[in-house]
């Protein structure tokens, strides 16, 4: 535990040493804090005041108001909850299903590998957005449906990375040793190999989080995301684009927040990849991923 904490701290320190990643981390922290503490902030995303619709940014409404006179900043903050919840939920679903599939496929390597990976290939062949829309058509429009749809779309990524990691690690001495001591396949996969394959999976989680946020926004933009009046960045873009002439900030400001969030996640993902790649190079093949 202490060792893990120390590793996380070390990783964080190295991330913060990179300007881009530090900025991204700072922005994401701000968004996450705003989303997490939205209910205690003095903002109401649902309160309507039609008489005050489509107002420009002001001291009272920093981002202006929408067509129903709702505060756009409040809706951006609550929209962050929708986006982050979708991202976290999707990553959990994708990881919980994709990683065991990849581990099993890579570990056994026989017909089970072929069968599992062909199933993953089928899933991979489906365009994410179409698959998500089809699933939402079946499940109905809700945050849960969007989250599940995005999560399932993320399974192939985790499965393929986990499989590749297992295939690289399974012949190494420490795995052979555990097998020699009578370790069960499950123990070897989840207790021996998985901890050493975590780094690329963490990067994949960050990548999927950004894809999930973008996909959720895309679904809402297409009118099949979270139903109104629940705030969603994509839904704000969808409605706001109709008011670009009267109230340009309506669509532009949520769009900027969405862009910066995706940019932040991507920057952190790239930085992490670079840091972990250097770890592997520095170890000269002696240590892969660090923990033994």
């Amino acid at each position: 535990m202490t060792e893990t904490l120390a590793r996380i701290k070390g990783l964080l320190r190295r991330l913060l040493a990179r300007r881009g990643a530090a900025l991204g981390l700072g922005f994401l922290t701000l968004v996450a804090l705003a989303a997490g503490f939205a209910t205690v902030l003095p903002f109401d995303p649902l309160s309507q005041s039609v008489a005050a619709s489509l107002l420009p940014p002001s001291a009272e409404n920093w981002f202006g108001t929408d067509e129903l006179g709702r505060d756009i900043l409040a809706r951006v903050i609550y929209g962050a909850r929708t986006s982050l919840l979708t991202a976290v939920g999707a990553v959990i679903i994708a990881a919980l299903i994709g990683v065991p599939i990849g581990l099993a496929a890579g570990f056994y390597g026989d017909w089970r590998d072929s069968l599992l990976m062909r199933c993953i290939d089928v899933l991979l062949a489906l365009p994410n957005i179409l698959f998500a829309m089809a699933l939402i058509a079946v499940l109905g429009r809700s945050q849960g449906a969007a989250l599940i749809a995005v999560g399932i779309a993320g399974i192939p990524g985790f499965a393929r990375i986990a499989r590749a990691q297992v295939m690289a690690l399974r012949q190494l001495d420490f795995v052979t040793a555990v097998r020699g001591f009578g370790g069960s396949p499950g123990y070897i996969m989840f207790r021996t190999i998985l901890p050493n394959a975590l780094s690329p999976l963490v990067v994949q989680a960050i990548v999927l989080a950004s894809i999930a946020i973008l996909l959720e926004a895309a679904l809402a933009f297409l009118g099949v995301g979270v139903p109104p009046p629940t705030p969603s960045w994509g839904e704000m873009l969808r409605t706001g684009k109709s008011y670009l002439y009267e109230a340009p900030t309506y669509a532009v400001l949520p769009g900027i927040v969405l862009t910066l969030t995706i940019l932040s996640l991507d920057t952190i993902g790239r930085a992490l990849t670079a840091i972990l790649d250097r770890d592997e190079t520095d170890a000269s093949g002696e240590t892969i991923g660090g923990r033994r």
């Binding site: 649902l46 039609v50 129903l68 139903p227 109104p228 109709s242 002439y245």
Partner: protein
């Protein structure tokens, strides 16, 4: 004084004769050229049946079909497929003379048999659709010969109602009447070339069309846009020539940008349609609460850029049954709504056990549905919106598969009982409320209006009774009138004809 030579005199005479002939044509039609007219529409049509007079079909009906008679924008009747109509002095019968030399798209000659087949279809509760309610006044019909049709009524019918009825009747080719939903079967100025569902509809000029020099443009292409903003952008970029039935807000903006905007004489009234056979809406007091839950001013402002009027009854201000006092009596008042809800005796769970169906493709519907949702939230009734897109929504709307939804009604400027041509207000064969009609007082009130052919006092009493019954039964809660079928056109377009129902009439349109 210059003396004209014989040749000069002759030329001048010809020029004068030409000028007087040209004067007989609409001024705008004189210089208009044909070509390919590209029209952006915001909805996919439901089907080709002219008796399905739904807003989603407004862009095709008058281009594929002709009515028996037409109205000018001022409401004056004029011949179309019927060249003459004679109403008996006792107002129990009308005899029509049909136009000769007209053929359907299939080549079948237009004769009395097609009018009889159309009447037969309209009188069938399963096939009559929007026409069925109108047929309630009709007793029987006959065709003494191929060019004459006589329609008899059950009782004396006001003349205006007879004319409305004739204007509403669109003859269908008897050979194609059973497949008219999928294959057009009209006499109209255009014939079907191709339809890509959800994308486009291509028509071409009917070479055998009976109106002289019409249609002007040879090709008519409707492109379905899912977004009002996209349709406006297409017009601004020159990708389309006309946007039909776009939003009032866009029309206001485009007019300011120099585009031509044409608003027809037939507004729609937005109605919060309630399925009184479902859940808490079976409770009368709960339904009546919605008379006071509608923030009509906000709905008009947000949904329709303020273009229109707030109304508590399904009439346009020009309707003889319009009564402005209802706007004040049934104004937005949450306290009154709360009292009615308390009187309903429904539990908190029952009150919120329904979803508001929303046309997700229509920005105005999405916005105004959220206003109602917000009003309900204020009095402690949280409900969800059931967002559906395009055809999925239309199917639910016309099939009555909803608890409540917004949907506009037409014919609100005509004879009051014509309101029963709209699905939610049908007196029988109602696709939402089903048979037997759950509101017999309403059915009786419509019948009383139909039968009131006596003095002004009798007529007014019938209208007053209908208005009272409508707000009491509260299965349709009107909120505002608004311009439908707005035509926004580029400056190279001319010859726009305004239809009494605001349907899109392409046959007179051409390029300047």
């Amino acid at each position: 004084m210059t003396k004209l030579s014989r040749r000069q005199f002759g030329m001048a005479g010809l020029a004068l004769a030409g000028a007087s002939l040209a004067g007989a044509l609409p001024a705008s039609a004189q210089q208009l050229k044909g070509g390919r007219l590209r029209v952006a529409v915001l909805s996919e049509l439901a089907n080709y049946d002219p008796q399905q007079l739904s807003t989603v079909n407004f862009h095709v009906i008058k281009n594929l079909y002709d009515s028996l008679i037409e109205y000018t924008p001022e409401g004056k009747p004029e011949p179309s497929l019927a060249t003459e109509w004679t109403i008996t002095p006792d107002k129990t019968s009308v005899t029509l003379k049909l136009r000769s030399g007209v053929t359907f798209h299939s080549g079948t000659p237009f004769k009395a048999d097609s009018v009889l087949a159309t009447l037969q279809k309209g009188a069938d509760p399963k096939r009559g659709k929007n026409v069925f309610a109108t047929m309630s006044i009709v007793k029987d019909w006959s065709a003494p010969d191929d060019s004459t049709v006589t329609i008899n009524f059950k009782a004396p019918v006001p003349e205006r109602q007879i004319l409305d009825f004739l204007q509403f009747l669109i003859p269908i080719d008897p050979k194609g009447i059973d497949t008219v939903e999928t294959v057009p079967a009209g006499t109209g100025p255009y014939t079907l070339v191709n339809r890509a569902v959800g994308q486009s509809l291509t028509l071409k000029a009917n070479p055998k069309y009976w109106r002289e020099k019409q249609p002007i443009v040879q090709d008519l292409v409707f492109t379905v846009f899912s977004e009002d903003a996209s349709a406006s952008a297409a017009l601004e970029s020159g990708a389309v020539d006309i946007v039909y039935n776009g939003s009032s807000r866009s029309a206001v903006r485009l007019k300011n940008a120099g585009f031509q905007v044409f608003a027809g004489p037939g507004p729609l009234v937005q109605v919060f349609r309630i399925n009184s056979t479902r859940g808490p809406f079976r409770n009368k007091a709960f339904r009546q609460a919605f008379n006071h839950l509608m923030d009509r001013a906000s709905i008009l402002r947000v949904g329709y850029a303020g273009m229109g009027k707030v109304v508590a009854l399904p009439w346009a201000p020009a309707s003889p049954a319009y009564d402005e006092s209802y706007n004040a009596t049934y104004a937005y008042d949450l306290e009154k709504a709360k009292k009615l809800i308390a009187a309903s005796g429904l539990s908190a769970d029952e009150l919120k056990s329904w979803k508001l169906l929303v046309n997700g493709s229509d920005e105005a519907s999405v916005a105004i549905s959220q206003i109602v949702q917000g009003s309900l939230q204020k009095i402690g009734i949280p409900i969800e919106l059931d967002m559906r897109q395009g055809a999925e929504y239309v199917t639910a709307l016309l099939g009555g598969d909803f608890a409540a939804t917004f949907g506009a009604v037409g014919n609100v400027q005509k004879f009051p009982s014509r309101v029963a041509t709209n699905s939610i207000y049908r007196t029988s064969g109602n696709p939402v409320l089903k048979d037997p009609h759950p509101h017999p007082d309403y059915v009786a009130a419509i019948a009383r209006v139909d039968g009131a052919s006596g003095g002004a006092a009798e007529v007014k009493a019938a209208y007053d009774n209908l208005n009272k019954v409508m707000v009491a039964e509260a299965f349709g809660i009107p909120t505002n009138s608004y311009d439908v079928g707005l035509i926004v056109a580029s400056d190279k377009i001319g010859g726009v004809t305004l239809d009494i129902d605001n349907l899109f009439v392409a046959r007179t349109i051409g390029f300047k």
